[in-house]
Symmetry: C2
Subunit: 223 residues, 2 copies
DNA sequence: ACCTGAACACCGTTCAAGT
DNA sequence: ACCTGAACACCGTTCAAGT
């Protein structure tokens, strides 16, 4: 008479993948500070302690999330031209950081890099070496490129001045500006940064090409 | 008979300056995560709530701390040579970030820049303008330099591989390396990064000069 | 094997109350 | 004016207990 209970048993069992996915979603829309073990459990319909079966702790969770981002970035494709490969790779990293803004400031400072992270960086170095960089030059290139890419993302993240919030800021903070306390800054903001067509994001490729050109020149000189 | 109580009244009254100083000391030796309102109160011999008379909240406190760091950095001294002025300034910022490692990742992403911050950046832009940069070029220079400086500090902060902890890491994380999973990374680490004379910090000036040379070339081309 | 209840040792912040 | 006691609404994490 009684119908056998459906074999689904518990419709959505917890798994490391599900925990990771929910954690990414939480951080993607609310920032890293909205990712708490309690809220994550709530999102998944379990208590916060259930998560500890699938991740060692919050740090382990974030390590795994960072590796997901590196997985999304993938590896640079070397087709004989290190410069365009490194250019595409830099833009790819930047786009990943725009999709996952919580990763800015987290990504580059993890103590325990995951496999996707290591594979990515191995491929970057491999691409440089194939492009004619010796070990020391590859280390320089790696350093200057990654510093720039992550630094740009960090400085852009909470840029005090954007065209959008120019209005509200103007009332409070910008009073000393009118008084002429910061003439050069005022000029740059009024006549450049806050002009309609300006987008700080466009500065990225300018700086990137400057660095790539500089590396190119040093490579040629070494040959 | 009773001696008049010493006029010191309360030997160390709280003040914004004292709170700031104690907060800096706490963050300097324990990192930003060791700076809590409760611990800060303890350090000053008061309850955590007493602090709220001198700072609006923790964010306001950190804003003030960041401005102290900008104050320490000071303003670049322009003596007719923008390149050496910007070089010295970059190295000055880097040294400040080494003294106050907690400021890395915090410094560049404050929503409310303080007066020392604004004054510093006004002077940087002024130096570039005096050196012959038009507004757009000054914005590019500012962007690429600061991105690099802060990015370098961030990537160095928790560098997974240092000569010191090479030993302990080797046991656990580096197993796939031996298996040849990351040949280029392995080569770079073994034959370069972990060699006795190597110090990642030395990469800073190499990248800095690459960027300064690139800016110099673009300035000359524009003239 | 997997999840929960209850607890521990923390957080930032507020607010009425004391002096 | 300046500090405190007590409380609120949170944290991450552990551990014995349940199924």
């Amino acid at each position: 008479m009684t119908i056998q209970e459906a074999p689904v048993a518990r419709r959505d069992r917890l798994s490391r993948a599900r925990v990771l996915q929910a954690a990414m979603a939480l951080a993607d829309d609310g920032g890293i500070e909205s990712l708490t073990m309690r809220r994550l459990g709530e999102e998944l319909g379990v208590g916060p302690m259930a998560l500890y079966r699938h991740v060692a702790n919050k740090d382990d969770l974030i390590d795994a999330m960072v590796d997901v981002v590196f997985g999304e970035i993938g590896v640079p494709s070397f087709n004989g031209d290190w410069k365009s490969a490194m250019r595409d790779r830099a833009i790819g990293v930047r786009h990943a950081l725009l999709r996952h803004r919580w990763a800015i400031g987290i990504m580059e400072s993890r103590a325990n890099p995951g496999p996707a992270n290591l594979q990515h960086h191995d491929a970057v170095i491999g691409c440089l070496r194939a492009g004619g960089f010796d070990i020391a030059m590859a280390a320089h290139a790696y350093s200057v490129l990654d510093s720039y890419i992550y630094g740009f993302a960090a400085t852009q993240k909470n840029l005090p001045f954007t065209a959008e919030d120019a209005g509200e800021k103007a009332e409070t903070m910008l009073q000393p500006f009118a008084a002429g306390a910061y003439p050069y800054l005022t000029e740059m903001l009024a006549d450049h940064i806050m002009q309609p067509g300006y987008d700080y994001g466009d500065e990225f490729e300018l700086g990137l090409d400057l660095i790539l050109d500089g590396l190119d020149e040093r490579i040629r000189r070494a040959r």
